[in-house]
């Protein structure tokens, strides 16, 4: 019996049908697809019990009260702490990716000493600590020979640093620029004392003049929570939010109104508003009201129009809204959190005095000096700025032999950054206490790795913006740091002891516990995610007329445009480059490849003769940067906006070499009347390349 054609076809068809009915082929295909994705280099998940531990995450300037989720003891995520009133369950974008930052490729893994230009050698802690003592010993007792720069606004570490310097005979304790520094000086000009606070939560009309309060200013998360509480989804808003500033930023995006004020006209805007409020009947009992009234008379609606390019109707509308509000609040600040003068602060804050809002619910408050853990520490309100110090070093007026840099990155994040980095070269011995290999660590002679926030004790006293005295503290989440690091304060206390100076404590943990006790708080409750609050003061502030009278209006070159640096918390801070987990939030209108974008509105672009996508050069008195043009209508007239925080020369592959450092082109000038260094009104020329 032969196999005919029909029989052959039947066998083949039967075979095919039979194959389809057996599960073998499908199971094999399924297995193949699983096996082909099951490679050894695909990371496996960690197993173990999932827990959530309270921590103080000081990755953002204000510090977030978080719950760190761990699996088998390893942190993997951070969420807000619902029990903490500063968080109420919210967390900022930086602290959200906090666990990943423990393993940042930029992390300093062990102590290192400089052995050549850009070359470092890992050393043991014993050697590093001995080197620190050895270098400080000959400088002991000579004022100005040992200096320290702190980039931490709120930690009690500042008390240790300043007390240590005082004990060694030096007064060279400096802080990095920030709102707290400027505002505290501003309050003094208004006859007051202490750090100003703003009760956003209690206000029904919040006018933010410059302050990017819902993204990068003050206690961002607490501000966002206060804002959100007045905006129930699907319900009626119970407070109005207005933003006046050069850029339609994250804060302005959710405000009821954005008033597009160029950065060079912030004080003019505030004083023109004061003029119109007085015209509408506002009267203050402040002693200098007469002088103030005479002063603001110059800031007419016409002057406002000339300075801002806006119509004066904007002011009328604002006056009507403020008069209709029960608890209006003016939040004063620089649009990028630094560089404004004390007089800019006074101009905006004086509106609170004019409206009788100081010490009131939903108004401006004053926070007195907090009890110190170390009596000989410097008072916060007498802080000196790091920029002026390094400028003196550059000119040879200051000649420190050693510089201790604590959690700060002055080589990158001071205005005229290139000059600041150069000035640091004049200092013989520089020690950087840093968690990450930042631009300053890269210039240091000795790098002492600091722990990540989940690996250390730390605290936050009165983060800037809080309306009443506030204290947070935290303890380590993990039992062992992932790098060979030591707490900088522990290192400093040990060094002080070897130099014959006792500050009364052996560890930072002890200092923080003493601070908590001095305040009347309980450290254990604080470390468990709690908070300590005191009572805010009112205080009889003046309108600051005497100081404001010395203010000189900003003169701009016809060819120049105002420069508005933009901060977005998600992209990092003055002491932290964009974290790896946040990179995805960058827009392709902000950075593409290595090109940073400069944003300007259509009218400004036309005036400058540039168009979308053009490569341009921004030049100021202190340097130049290159960028590409993005035309955005969210920028005020005659202003260009560029993101701060890019153009890193250290850090890691995720950030190094991307974009340009805008700090380089911020030009410092002396504020008339106060002598403070200011750079918020920097201008640049823009030219196609």
């Amino acid at each position: 019996m032969g196999l005919d054609r029909r029989g052959f076809v039947k066998i083949v068809m039967g075979g095919v049908a039979g194959t389809l009915f057996t599960p073998v082929i499908w199971q094999s295909l399924d297995d193949v697809s699983i096996w082909s994705q099951n490679w050894g280099w695909i990371p496996r998940l960690n197993k173990g019990e999932v827990k959530a531990k309270s921590a103080l995450s000081k990755l953002c300037p204000a510090g977030c009260a978080v719950k760190v989720k761990t699996v088998g003891g390893l942190p993997f995520a951070a969420i807000g702490n619902t029990a903490n009133p500063m968080s109420k369950g919210g967390v900022c974008p930086i602290c959200t990716g906090g666990a990943q930052l423990m393993y940042s490729p930029a992390r300093v893994k062990s102590p290192m000493k400089k052995v050549g230009e850009g070359k470092y050698e890992a050393i043991k802690w014993e050697e590093a600590e001995a080197m620190l003592v050895e270098k400080l010993t000959p400088l002991k007792g000579q004022d100005g020979k040992i200096a320290a720069i702190s980039g931490d606004e709120t930690g009690t570490a500042n008390e240790v640093l300043s007390a240590m310097l005082a004990g060694l005979g030096s007064t060279g304790f400096y802080v990095m620029p920030g709102e707290m520094f400027t505002a505290t000086k501003g309050v003094k000009l208004m006859g007051g004392n202490g750090q100003p606070g703003f009760d956003i939560e209690g206000s029904d009309l919040v006018l933010m003049i410059g302050a990017d309060a819902l993204d990068s200013w003050g206690t961002t998360v607490a501000n966002q929570k206060a804002f959100a509480a007045t905006r129930p989804t699907g319900g009626a808003a119970t407070a109005q939010y207005i933003y006046a500033g050069p850029v339609l930023n994250n804060t302005a995006s959710v405000c009821d109104k954005w008033v597009a004020v160029p950065p060079t006209a912030m004080a003019t805007f505030a004083l023109a508003l004061a003029n119109q409020l007085i015209a509408a009947g506002a009267v203050s009992s402040a002693a200098d009201f007469g002088d103030y009234k005479a002063l603001v008379a110059k800031y007419t609606p016409e002057a406002f129009e000339a300075a801002t390019g806006l119509k004066a109707d904007v002011l009328k509308d604002l006056v009507a809204k403020i008069k209709a509000a029960k608890a209006p609040l003016i939040v004063a600040g620089a649009s990028f959190g630094q560089g404004a003068g004390a007089l800019d602060f006074v101009a905006a804050a004086s509106l609170n005095v004019l409206l009788g809002r100081v010490g009131q619910k939903g108004g401006m408050t004053l926070l007195g000096a907090a009890p110190k853990a170390i009596a000989s520490a410097a008072d916060r309100e007498n802080a000196k700025d790091a920029g002026s110090f390094l400028a003196s070093v550059a000119t040879g007026k200051a000649t420190p032999g050693a510089l201790l840099i604590y959690e700060a990155n002055p080589a990158f994040a001071l205005p005229q950054a290139a000059e600041m980095a150069k000035a640091m070269g004049n200092i013989g011995f520089k020690v950087s206490f840093s968690t990450y290999m930042d631009e300053t660590a890269a210039l240091a002679d000795l790098i002492l790795p600091a722990p990540h926030p989940y690996e250390r004790f730390d605290d936050a006293m009165n983060p800037y913006g809080v309306s009443k005295p506030t204290y947070l503290a935290g303890k380590p989440v993990v039992s062992k740091p992932v790098a060979d690091c030591k707490d900088p304060v522990d290192v400093l206390l040990a060094a002080a002891a070897k130099l014959g100076l006792s500050l009364g404590f052996d560890t930072y943990a002890d200092v923080i516990k003493a601070k908590a006790t001095a305040l009347g708080g309980d450290f254990d409750a604080l470390a468990a995610g709690g908070i300590w609050n005191g009572e805010a003061k009112g205080g009889a502030l003046t309108l600051g007329a005497g100081a404001l009278a010395k203010a000189v209006p900003v003169k701009t070159d016809e060819k120049a445009v105002a420069l508005a640096p933009v901060t977005r918390l998600a992209y990092g801070t003055a002491s932290l480059a964009t974290p790896p987990a946040n990179l995805v939030t960058l827009r392709d209108t902000e950075l593409v490849g290595k090109d940073l974008f400069v944003q300007m509105n259509g009218a400004t672009a036309k005036k400058l003769g540039v168009a979308k996508g053009n490569k341009v050069k921004l030049t100021s008195g202190s340097g130049e940067i290159k960028a590409r043009v993005h035309v955005s209508e969210g920028v005020a007239a005659n202003t260009v906006a560029v993101l701060l925080g890019f153009g890193r020369s250290a850090w890691d592959e995720f950030t190094k070499g991307k974009g340009e450092n805008v700090y380089k082109i911020l030009t410092v000038s002396d504020e008339a009347g106060t002598g403070l260094k200011v750079w918020a009104g920097s201008t640049v020329t823009v030219a196609k390349v």
Partner: protein, 259 residues
Amino acid sequence: MKAKEFNIKWGMVIDLDKCTGCGACMTACQVENNIAPMVDASNKLRTLSWMLVYELSNKKAAPDAEIAYLPRPCMQCGNPTCVPVCPVIATDKNEEGGIVSQIYPRCIGCRYCMAACPYHARYFNWEDPIFPKGMEKTLSPNTSVRPRGVVEKCNFCHTRLMKAKDKARQEGGNPEALADGAYMPACAEVCPTGAISFGDIKNPEHKVHELAKGENAYRLLEKLGLAPQVYYVSKREWVRKLGDNYAATGKAGAEKKHS
């Protein structure tokens, strides 16, 4: 076409008037779902952003310009266009509260689903997940790491749903009637302004039930009839209009009024 309906409908209501565009939701999503950081995250053709915050503009010149931010997770459509096009049934809309699943080991990477999704909510892994040395120790235990060659997307942090159900069972509760807030995706959990509300849209005890019916609530591209389970709320008319490019004329193919 009738949308698939189940007893439970997990959904989001996102209040665009509260979203500041801070990016915490995107970062929390990256962390929860073990998405490896990319060296060049500005290459948006390669990034994996299950949750993506778009910037919307009213297109008016300064100083009258307004912007709004729109967080876009997967819409978990009632009529998902991605499901019928999948040749290997690697994606399905099932009774897990109507969440559109994505089964990575089954995905063959053909990307039909990406072409079909009008919301661009699906992403293809062009590269293997490479974490900086040591960072794999921070992997979340909730989501397996996907290899190169598969498509992935938001699944409302589905593992959290399973864990919430397990917890309910352990505590003697009903896993099919979770309390409001018992199950919460990572983005909704961290949002500092509470712009993202989440719950069972069919359950009157969950606040999203009412919010989704609000007068200013809408869904993206409703005319396509995909019945998304993600709702948006905005009092700003120009924002709502951007939810559908055809809304201005009511005709598909009409001139694009917004971008």
